[in-house]
Amino acid sequence: MPPILEVKNLSVRFAGNTALDHVSFTIEKDAIIAVIGPNGSGKTTLLKAILGLVPYHGEIRLFASTVRQVLPQLGYVPQRFAFDTTFPLTVEEFINLTCRNPEKLPVGGVLEETGMKDFKGKMIGELSGGQLQRVLLAHAMLHRPRILFLDEATSGIDVEGLSDFYSTIHRLNREHGVTVMMVSHEISMVYKFSDRIICLNRDLISHGETKTALTGEVLKKLYGDNADLRIHGHG
């Protein structure tokens, strides 16, 4: 099966500082791929470069095309919402903003899949951090993307909501065949839910199947000597 995402020699520099240095990898269809690394390791930059949001050197091919050509097939949940959440905008209005013909798209369906159906009349500013992230997820899922990019989408979610959020992502992947690429700091959740992993620290430290590529040694390379991997029998 040909890869759906190919990254070759990707480098990103901001004002003379290297954010990513000659990173190369490929991604196959239907997997959940986690991107981990310490702060400033280039995780968010990697996602933004793939999506064409920052200038880069190197080659990125999505479905053997450029990102502009396949944009409608991609979904993106940002790290945080940039706008003033006190602005009067209901969940349904927000979701509808993305579509020219809301009645032709599964607005109710994506809200149900993300557990937000009962909140469609609520204002965005009245939602908790976890609910807001679910709304952003529903927004990203509206056009039934083939790849979903999540940039630390669980920041601001409490421990209880965290597992729910990852379970939703897992369900979307397994039931709808959406390939998921997610930047995360929650190593235990990554270990439990992801199929493949990309370990970054400006350059590529390790990548491959999560259970084999994520080792104590790799964690030490990423986070220092105090980091270690302890497996507690996840299912």
Binding site: L74, Y76, P78, A82, F83, F87, L89, T90, L97
Partner: protein, 270 residues
Amino acid sequence: MAELLQLPFMQRALIAGLVLGLLLAYLGIFVTLRRMAFFSDGVAHAALAGAAIGILTRFNPLVSALIFSMLLACLIYWLEKKSSLSSDAIIGILFTSGMALGIVLISLRKGYQPELIGYLFGNILAIRRQDLALIVILAFLIVAFIIRNKRKLTLLALDREMAYMAGINPDFYQLLLYVMLACALVLGIRILGIILVSAILIVPVSTARLFSRSFKALTLWTGVIAEGVMIGGLLLSYYLNLPSGAVIVLVGSTVFMLAFAASILCRTQH
């Protein structure tokens, strides 16, 4: 009242007030959402240079101010993209430079300048037939564009990255928003003046935000408040024989204060 509405200057004032009230108030939704109040204030103040060029060269000052402000909006956009300076710094430099250029140009002409005072403080009652035609045509074009592209402009105002992901060209629509805003502000200067024009951009939407529970309600109430403030302020200024621009702004701020007090009262009761 019926007699008042038969006066040609009052008819022109009311039509211009209603059209510009709606135009500026709707643009105000995007201005507050994108926190562009300083951009609006800056472009309005710098328009003085454009009006001064028109006055000095005996060309229509409204048209020269329109051209000058739209070019300035493009320059702000270009500098924001090309320089590492913050948007506020760029606007601050261009706004004061434009104002200073306007003062220097005006000082080249001797004697009292009633037209200049009209641009500084507005004079809705002195709107000429050709000014009204320009206001109505441009306002119609801008409002039609906003209605047609409301979804794109709103998404861009909310989050640039989300707009891009939805297939919208953020740079193109941002530039258009800047140019439309500059154009609307200059048209509004005829009513409220350079110093006060930003008020009608900010006050109606800020008042509507206090009690709106959806974007649809916000859009509706912003329009209703803007038109109410325009008509109320205009009539009040006529009966009290006070400057129309200042009275419109004071009516707007009174409505805002009342709505603010009511919203606090409602919150404490719940």
